[in-house]
């Protein structure tokens, strides 16, 4: 089994996000970049599949500050091949990047043929589309998103579970090769101790791949007018005071609404 995982770094929303003076990007100074959460789940799912079915996991990560840490951590978790993809513009919007990735996967030696490409179902910066369906369309492969489980990986098909509203799920069968947009892995991404990551830094090698000329510019066809903090179109009325005071005020409120 040949599994490819596409991962990206995105800004960490735990940090305060400030908008740069030009009003069209985030203030990069204050940003901390972390792996996109659902990409982490995609990697975990790929590793679980490797444990179950054998094979190799190749992690392809878009170049970014500290992407080496992402890749070495992936190696420490069990990934076999690490590729840092340069020449792909990251940041707001994913369409140009995803299409360039698809082309890079085709041109880089040994990445394809693969059985499955896994990546996160969505990311917080995806202003102009989702990575998984774009990859699938460019490669001409079938796609399914919001996947939370792979039930079976056979020679020619894969059976996956996708989430629907209200707690419903659907079991789908897809022909291989396929692209999966992973919402959540079957179990939370595994922990790998710092010592193992450091050991991977010495033992593992990151290949650098250069993406071919992009076919589209980032956010092509879209004018970004501005970024701003959401105005609370209805900002909550804030209650202040010590817990007991606030509790009292809330009781008054609830009583006024006939809830007590």
């Amino acid at each position: 089994m040949n599994l490819v995982v596409l991962m990206r770094m995105v800004p960490d929303v735990v940090e305060e996000l400030e908008i740069a003076p030009d009003g069209k990007s985030l203030d990069r100074d204050l940003l901390r970049m972390i792996p996109s959460e659902s990409d982490d789940h995609a990697l975990e799912e790929a590793l679980l599949l490797k444990e179950r079915y054998g094979g190799r996991v190749t992690v392809l990560a878009l170049s970014a500050p500290e992407v080496a840490d992402l890749l070495y951590t992936a190696a420490a978790k069990g990934a076999d091949r690490l590729i840092e993809l340069r020449g792909v513009q990251t940041g707001l919007g994913v369409r140009a990047a995803a299409l360039a990735c698809a082309d890079a996967m085709t041109s880089l030696a040994g990445v394809l043929p693969a059985d499955l490409i896994l990546t996160g179902a969505q990311a917080i910066e995806d202003l102009d589309g989702l990575a998984a369906p774009l990859l699938a369309d460019r490669l001409g492969w079938p796609y399914l998103g919001v996947v939370t489980k792979v039930n079976e990986l056979a020679d020619r098909t894969v059976t996956v579970v996708k989430e629907f509203p209200g707690g419903f799920r659907g079991e789908f069968q897809m022909t291989l090769p396929a692209v999966l947009g992973i919402q959540a892995a079957e179990r939370p991404p595994r922990y790998v101790p710092v010592a193992k990551v450091r050991a991977a830094m010495k033992a593992a090698k990151i290949e650098v791949g250069q993406a071919p000329e992009p076919i589209a510019a980032p956010l092509a066809g879209i004018d970004l007018v501005e970024l701003c903090k959401p105005e609370a179109a209805g900002r909550a009325e804030m209650l202040e005071g010590a817990p007991e005071e606030v509790a009292g005020k809330l009781c008054e409120l609830l009583a006024a609404h006939g809830l007590l």
Binding site: V13, E16, L17, R95, Q122, E125, D128, G129, L130, P133, L134, D137, Y143, L144, G145, V146, T159, K162, F164, P165, G166, G167, F168, R169, G170, E171, F172, Q173, M174, T175, A178, P188, A220, G221, I222, D223, L224, E226, L227, C228, K229, P230, A233, G234, R235, A236, E237, M238, L239, P243, E244, V246, A247, G248, L250, C251, L253, L254, L259, L260
Partner: protein, 324 residues
């Protein structure tokens, strides 16, 4: 000549979902603003009766094909692509939910049109559409304008009220033909129903919802005590369910339940759009979070910047004292 505004209808278990009507309400506004017709796209198999509910639109285009019976994104996207190439709409609004994830993106790519994701509002500006999109877990908003037509918008739930998109009128229905590949590479085998929980959260009048901010499974009992004091039930956001602190049946949001209780008390929930989607229509929303910038405060009616672990017991006591 600007093209019409299309709204793609979404079905789930044989019924049209709320977001369809929200999208129609929005579509109506912008279509009127642009001075173009509003057309609803109904894709499916033997569901023409649903067309009668889409009266908010001027016209319903009904595409029937066995391949459209199941929610396979690439087939729906292909059908829309074919139709859009024939009919050249100006702006296409596609719901952005678990069911339709990927449809908007594929459609935009196949039409070589700009695709705008995470749209929470649209308005007409200088004869074109301007979209407001929610990014970074709800913390940052982007204002964008697609260059030219057609443009595809992935619409987040909650842009308008669903009622505004329901109409007693009936629109003209035109059945259109689409061809789709014979063998689909993606096939739905079966649905898996959620395990029945003992409590039907959608019927509860009071919900105490917990998020990561309660820090540990042990602290759930603080929420349970408050819920008991208020005569309600406990539910949670996705992270809490993923951790195993609450069963899936108690999850509120995109992949869980949508609820509209009289009181929704969100404790330690940040307010990411995926959760908000499931509770935004609650009558009274009170949010407690230690982060004053948590997006939940943008949709709550009342907010408290405090540690839920301190406020919940204080509130429980106050409620009990009040009730006597």
């Amino acid at each position: 000549m600007a093209g019409s505004v299309w709204v793609v209808a979404e079905q789930w278990q044989g019924r049209l979902t709320d977001i369809t009507f929200e999208a129609l309400a929005l579509g109506r506004e912008v279509a009127d603003g642009l001075g173009v017709p509003l057309e609803a796209l109904l894709l499916g198999f033997q569901c023409s009766s649903l067309a009668g509910e889409l009266g908010c639109a001027d016209k319903v285009l009904y595409a029937e094909h066995p391949g459209l019976k199941d929610p396979v994104p690439e087939l729906h996207a292909q059908a829309l692509t074919v139709l859009a190439r024939e009919r050249r709409p100006g702006n296409i609004i596609v719901p952005l939910t678990n069911t339709t994830m990927g449809v908007g993106t594929l459609l935009a790519k196949r039409l070589a049109a700009p695709g705008v994701n995470f749209t929470v509002d649209l308005r007409v500006s200088h004869g074109a559409l301007e979209a407001r999109c929610l990014l970074y877990g709800g913390k940052i908003q982007a204002l964008v304008r697609p260059q030219g037509e057609p443009a595809v918008f992935g619409l987040w739930p909650g842009a308008r009220s669903a009622d505004a998109g329901r109409s007693v009128r009936t629109a003209a229905v035109e059945q259109v033909a689409v061809t789709l590949p014979e063998d689909s590479r993606v096939q739905l085998k079966r649905y898996i129903e959620p395990e029945a929980g003992e409590v039907d959260l959608t019927r509860q009048e009071v919900l105490v919802a917990v998020g990561r901010g309660i820090q540990s499974k042990d602290n759930l009992e603080l929420a349970e005590e408050l819920a008991a004091a208020l005569g309600g039930a406990v539910c949670g956001s996705r992270p809490v369910v993923d951790q195993g602190w609450l069963p899936l049946a108690r999850q509120i949001g995109k992949s869980g339940l949508t609820v509209k209780p009289k009181l929704y008390l969100a404790a330690g929930i940040s307010g990411a759009p995926e959760h908000v989607e499931g509770m935004k229509d609650s009558a009274l929303i009170v949010a407690v979070n230690t982060d004053p910038h948590a997006p939940i405060f943008n949709i709550a009616h009342y907010g408290v910047v405090a540690d839920a672990l301190e406020l919940l017991p204080a509130l429980t006591e106050a409620v009990r004292a009040r009730k006597g």
